[in-house]
């Protein structure tokens, strides 16, 4: 997949409009300076939108396109191209391709004339979509044709690339419309546009077969994504497998699972479950000792010892770890990694101390997050008590202190089977570099995909769903693989 930087021009400056609103402008400076800052190399494709032209229908920024083309950039220019003359203006200015929106959707005969004159290879059809409906004329009105009709029409003209923008996502940093791109049936190369805001978004788009390129605007300008890094990541030949992790909630030596952490019921012997899960393809096992915060700890150590003796995959253990000695005891009992929760909130230094003593790879921050108005709060004591600490900020801090990974549980979603809290996941994964394990709410194979694809999680965890055999680990992995997400 190609990663195409995108700039919007207004009055000779690089700008961004929020939701296409000319009253809400952020200016970034002159194009050359901006492109130098973004380190856009010679030979790169560059998406240029003339905002004045898209509003008035008259190309105005041709001089800039000429200058940039002479710097060896392969420019695709767009904005208000309504006629063959408009299109020719951009090509004459040095653009390699023109990006044509409104007439592609609304005036097939004009589109046909442009393609006939310039050649289909110089034309990219642009389709702006909101709620599945094509918008035209600077997003101001609905097109007469449906999305499927528009796509069929431009494909028939021999056009090979279609740029599809989800307007509701554009510039809002909420992530691209993965579902939209997955749903499209077209032989054309899709250029995804709108909402690409994290490195993980770029990787997720590259896994969707029909997506041949993505354009990135604001996230590059804001420094959230670095062009060279994004290109390196999507070019990596050996995509690293994402992990599927069953979780055993253990109380007094037995596996249990609560709905919203209450109404606990029995679901089996931990060693039996662990062995079963490894043979079923689990990439790792998590044991959370949910009795630990309340009751005695020696039973838990026995469970860890017995499970680790029968397991040949990594084992993470959490629950009631208060001191560096608790941490050490679990590692000695056979845990590869230990999750700290309540104690770390009360004493953040515990994370740093354990990381120094045992290595960052051994330290997992377990964060139970609960919605509180417009933010998430970190909960303590098994999700029962509020801590007053902002969950997202706490995760960022924990990375700084030396946590190697974050096990992020949505207390609101836990046990509901309504899906992981994607908003929570994005809030954390867009802020930290270390891996995040999504937890709480899995109910279908699509939920696992969404946590990785849209949420940016590097691992997906579920408990009751697997214990009750409503889904197998194989079901999840097969589905992820079929969606282009690498698994073991």
């Amino acid at each position: 997949m190609d990663v195409i930087p995108s700039i919007d021009l207004l009055d000779g400056q690089v700008v961004r409009l929020l939701h296409g609103d000319f009253a809400r402008v952020t200016a970034y400076g002159d194009p050359e300076t901006v492109l130098d800052t973004l380190a856009v190399p010679r030979g790169s494709r560059l998406h240029v939108v003339d905002l004045e032209a898209s509003r008035s229908g008259r190309p105005v920024e041709t001089a800039i396109v000429r200058r940039l083309a002479s710097r060896g950039l392969r420019i695709q220019a767009g904005g208000g191209i309504r006629s063959l003359a408009d299109a020719r203006t951009w090509i004459d200015a040095g653009a390699e391709k023109v990006v044509i929106g409104t007439v592609a959707a609304d005036a097939p005969e004009v589109m046909q004339a442009i393609v006939g004159e310039l050649g289909a290879e110089r034309v990219i059809a642009a389709v702006d979509v909101r709620d599945g409906i094509v918008r035209v004329a600077g997003w101001e009105r609905e097109a007469t044709a449906s999305l499927a009709e528009v796509l069929a029409r431009v494909e028939e003209l021999g056009i090979g690339e279609v740029l599809i923008t989800d307007i509701s996502k554009d510039g809002a940093m909420r992530g691209p419309s993965f579902a939209l791109y997955r749903s499209l049936r077209t032989a054309m190369r899709i250029i995804a546009s709108g909402g690409v805001s994290t490195m993980s978004d770029v990787v997720s788009l590259s896994r969707i077969q029909s997506v041949g390129a993505c354009v990135i605007g604001r996230a590059l300008l804001d420094g959230r994504i670095r062009l060279a890094e994004a290109r390196t990541l999507v070019a990596a030949p050996n995509a690293i497998p994402e992990r599927v992790i069953p979780c055993l909630d253990v109380r007094d030596g037995r596996v249990v699972k609560g709905v919203n952490f209450v109404d606990i019921r029995d679901a089996g012997d931990p060693v039996e479950c662990a062995v079963l899960y490894e043979s079923a393809g689990a990439d790792e096992l998590v044991i959370l000792d949910i009795s630990a915060t309340d009751a005695n700890r020696s039973t838990a150590l026995d469970v860890v010892r017995h499970v680790s003796e029968s397991l040949f995959i990594p084992l993470t253990v959490g629950g009631g770890v208060r001191t560096i000695e608790d941490f050490r005891a679990l590692l000695r009992a056979g845990a590869d990694r230990v999750a700290i929760n309540t104690a770390a909130i009360r004493n953040p230094q515990l994370i740093a101390d354990c990381a120094r003593e045992f290595g960052v790879q051994a330290v997992v921050l377990s964060c139970d997050a609960k919605r509180a108005g417009d933010h998430f709060e970190a909960m303590v004591r098994g999700g029962r008590e509020s801590s007053g600490v902002d969950a997202v900020e706490w995760c960022r801090r924990a990375e700084e202190l030396g946590a190697g990974e974050i096990l992020l549980t949505s207390v609101d979603r836990d046990g509901t089977n309504r899906g992981y809290d994607i908003e929570l996941l994005r809030a954390v994964t867009s802020l930290v570099k270390i891996g995040v394990i999504a937890s709480g709410g899995a109910g279908s194979v699509e939920h696992f995909r969404d946590a990785i694809e849209a949420g940016g999680a590097r691992a997906v965890l579920a408990a009751s769903l697997f214990h009750d055999r409503r889904l197998s680990i194989a079901d999840v992995k097969q589905f992820l693989a079929s969606e282009g997400i690498p698994v073991r």
Partner: protein, 196 residues
């Protein structure tokens, strides 16, 4: 043939012992330099810091015993930091010489992905150690690795290619944790035990 596991305190010996036994090894676990020097088949485990692991080897003259065994024709498998110890040197916290049994150097990842690498990664391998799992997925925990080692027999990619395993004559090293790599890891250990 007996397999001798070097009982390093800078390693997770219990887990590797268990995996070797399941893979069919008749195992002895020792720090005795005479036993190590005369062993036909050795396993050198290691986790954590290269410097600490190497210091333990030299302070206890295990390094000399390993060299003696290899000179006598012993087979050796280094695991994780044990694998890194086989190289000429490591650049972890300054530069520290290794055992020099395979050529090359160990350096910190300088790619764009978070360090340490914690997780599964697919390798591309060749040779008898990887028979049946040439494209297997293995579990890695490491911040340092060799890149383009001359004795490379397996490579993987973590924001750039790195050496996942080496072989120089009878000396093998694997950067991943076979004892945590489920069936694929046990297969590598079985292959090692069977190799003559």
């Amino acid at each position: 043939m007996k397999t001798t596991l070097i009982d390093s305190p800078v390693a997770n010996v219990a887990n590797i012992a268990r995996a070797l036994r399941v893979a069919g090894a008749e195992l002895e676990i020792t720090r005795d330099t005479d036993i190590i020097a005369n062993a036909p088949k050795l396993v050198l485990p290691g986790v954590g810091s290269f410097v600490a692991a190497m210091r333990w080897l030299t302070e206890n003259k295990i390094d000399a015993a390993i060299h003696e065994a290899v000179t006598r024709g012993a087979t050796l498998l280094g695991i994780c930091v044990g694998h890194q110890l086989l190289f000429d040197r490591s650049h972890e916290m300054g530069t520290t010489p290794g055992l020099g049994l395979v050529r090359g150097e160990v350096r910190q990842y300088d790619g764009i992905l978070p360090v340490p690498q914690i997780g599964w990664n697919r390798i591309t391998a060749r040779g008898p150690l990887f028979e049946g799992v040439e494209n297997g997925v293995f579990y890695f925990v490491n911040s340092y690795a060799a890149v383009d080692a001359p004795d490379e027999i397996a490579r993987a990619d973590y924001g750039g290619p790195f050496t996942a395993a080496v072989q120089h004559q009878r000396v093998f090293g694997v950067q991943f944790h076979p004892e945590k790599s489920s069936g694929a890891g046990l297969r590598v250990l079985r292959n090692y035990i069977a190799w003559t």
